[in-house]
Subunit: 437 residues, 2 copies
């Protein structure tokens, strides 16, 4: 990289002496503006807790330009049915394909109860049960995606959650009918036309019209994210998702246009999204860059994609793809495409990625929609310590212990000793008293 | 309950007309003082990020009354070995029993990879890998428990975490040698004498001496809890644990002294702890209450236990134990003892509990130490949506997709259609371009 000239997108080369510093800068770059909305959100939540529906109605008028009454907070079944009925056949078929594939994949994730007796006769176990009720937040406007409804509602359904409520803001009254259609396909019929921190507060604490839920999931803007953080503890929440990312590891035998399209499929989501290419072929890197420039001109969200590519995109040139797994693990990408002849070998050598797409014929977009796996995945390097959304997010485990007098006699003394050294008399006594000690 | 006279502990009766209101008040009562330490913690974290070891040394002098140098931030192996060597045989045996039982139980929790080919030839799967590095916070002073080291370190070890670092504050230089011994038994040798928000910040961001970790676990005071919340996202964290709780469901055929000891074993932890008894036998309730009063006088932590029992304890009288499961689910207790003849029948009828202890010979304390299950469990009704600590907290899942040209041809059109209706051109193109569409 020539001193003082920032190439667009960033071009790094593991052979350069400055590589480590540049790579660290890439990893450390903040892509999200941390709007300080905490105080505003705290105020909104307090109002909803105090005033209930009245606060929801007032805040929805103020933020969404929509006049509601308690009677129409909830979307009517007729409105849901009408949206479904008006959905073109081809779209309905695509949504149904996606729904069915997501369902059957997620069914395999259901954890199994475990109950056993150990060598001394102690019964141990784990029992999994579904969360009773879940609130699903669906963003409004441009990011009101039916696929997001499927990805959040299906795992909850598969887990056996009895009540799945949904909320989606209706800016000036407009709801995306495909969001309602997707909800109907998932069997979700409790839908509110509410958004922002007020919707999160309603799910967490309940109002006259809305019963509280046990867990809130789904993406949202800075207000929604801050509200989820604030109500965490009162209810469960899923991860706080950041802007989308893709890392493509590709050799020079790919069609540059394919890889360019894959990079742009993340970039078009958000100007804060990040697309990175790692390749061992400088000529291929140039060809991809050129292809990106060409394709950018034809995208309806070209300005967004261009900003993302310019500000956050990167091409990392490696001497050999052998170097790629270690770099990839430091990036810990949300999405990882391995566009090489032997993707399995590469995959075996890396550890941190939300989702991996193996081979040249698995564009990440298949995972966004119809692959069957979940598209809610850990961003911002959090794949180092967390996983994508799954059935596990909608169940919880009760651990089980059962001793008889014999087992208590055998294990009791060790427990009494540990209670003693920890200075917890009543702990020791609750065992000793049963053993007449 | 007589108007105006608060009985100690609260006595509720499901037959009373005021029961529902009283029960709601019990559920809604705040037991924790929410110290507003956020600003102080934010300042501490910023200092550690900027000044590294120097900040750790300065803050440790200030808060822990201990003068450190970078060379002695870390506890020496000789110090760990000496603590282990000085541990009495009986204590060592008890710790080892606990360690081995926790290990073998947690080994069963390791999730299995899943890889399969579906009907149309798409390969799907989930691969689990361990988190690379974990920081374990161990409180100092009275709450510096060796059992807590075991309960946090063993699941990490079982999961295959390569680097487990530990930190424990050494107030005026004093470390609990049993904490070091427990660490040695777990194979943990990277131990720092640091506490508070500064220790959490060091784990999250690293300093000259301490490499950052991917996830931070373990209990702590309000500063530690606030610091964990603030660094969440940069690193993973476990749950934020609140004060301990127990619910005992007992018929009249129990020894009141046994049940009293069980109730007190939670109460002695913390004046904010909560012990609740549900029984169908008013005479038994009286007998338990009397036994609690008697036993309180003999506990070294009697004042703490008495405050907990007075302020947060409750006895709920039900007409029949049939009513108990529904009440228990609303409480969603951390620990649930079923001291009845047929505990399995009761257990089958309830859903929300962190851990259940079946039968009259399974005091909860067995689970604290040597049962094999984990004692880090969801508090404050969060068993409605979360689980105790397990191997799952130290692994993460990568989802896998692999299509060939045929599968892409079959699934591609549905993905293209969904991208179209969501207005995401590049998404559609990344599929279409591979199909020459």
């Amino acid at each position: 990289m020539t001193e003082g000239v920032r190439r667009v997108p960033s071009r790094l080369n593991t052979d350069d002496s400055g590589f480590e510093a540049e790579f660290r800068a890439l990893l450390g770059a903040k892509r999200e503006q941390a709007d300080d909305v905490d105080a505003a959100v705290r105020h909104i939540i307090a109002r909803v807790r105090e005033e209930g529906d009245a606060a929801l109605i007032d805040l929805t008028r103020q933020f969404d330009g929509l006049d509601l009454t308690p009677e129409v907070l909830r979307v009517g079944q007729d409105e849901i049915d009408a949206a479904h009925a008006a959905t073109p056949e081809e779209t309905l078929a695509a949504l149904t394909t996606a729904h069915d594939r997501i369902s059957s994949h997620h069914a395999r994730q259901m954890p199994k109860d475990d109950r056993y007796v150990d060598a001394i006769g102690v019964e141990l176990g784990s029992r999994w049960t579904a969360v009773d009720s879940v609130g699903l937040y669906v963003p409004g406007g441009q990011a009101s995606y039916p696929s997001s409804v499927l990805m959040n509602a299906v795992p909850a359904k598969v887990a056996g959650v009895e009540r799945i409520a949904m909320t989606v803001p209706a800016m000036r009254g407009v709801l995306n009918p495909l969001v309602l259609t997707a909800a109907k396909i998932c069997g979700v019929s409790e839908i509110y036309r509410l958004g922002g921190a007020q919707a999160v507060a309603a799910f967490a604490y309940g109002t006259e019209t809305i019963a509280p839920v046990a867990k809130i999931v789904g993406p949202g803007n800075a207000f929604v994210a801050a509200a989820k953080r604030q109500v965490f503890g009162t209810v469960g929440i899923d991860m706080i998702a950041g802007p989308s990312e893709i890392l493509v590891i590709a050799d020079g035998r790919n069609d540059p246009d394919w890889i360019a399209a894959d990079l742009l499929s993340q970039a078009e989501h958000d100007s804060a999204a990040q697309s990175i290419l790692i390749t061992d072929d400088a000529g291929f890197a140039d060809a991809v860059e050129a292809a990106v420039e060409r394709q950018l001109k034809t995208l309806s969200r070209g300005a967004t994609a261009a900003a993302s590519w310019r500000d956050h995109g990167a091409i990392i040139l490696v001497g050999s793809l052998d170097e790629a797994p270690a770099l990839s693990d430091r990036i810990a990408p949300e999405h990882l495409e391995l566009a090489v002849d032997d993707p399995e070998a590469l995959f075996a050598r890396l550890r941190h990625a939300g989702a991996v797409f193996l081979g040249r014929h698995t564009p990440e977009v298949i995972g966004d929609y119809v692959g069957g796996s979940n598209h809610v995945l850990p961003t911002a390097r959090s794949a180092r310590f967390s996983s994508g959304l799954s059935v596990l997010d909608f169940v919880k485990r009760t651990s089980i212990l059962k001793l008889g007098p014999d087992q208590l006699r055998e294990l009791g003394p060790a427990a009494i000793e540990l209670a003693r050294v920890e200075g917890l008399d009543a702990h020791g006594r609750s065992v000793a008293i049963r053993l007449n000690l």
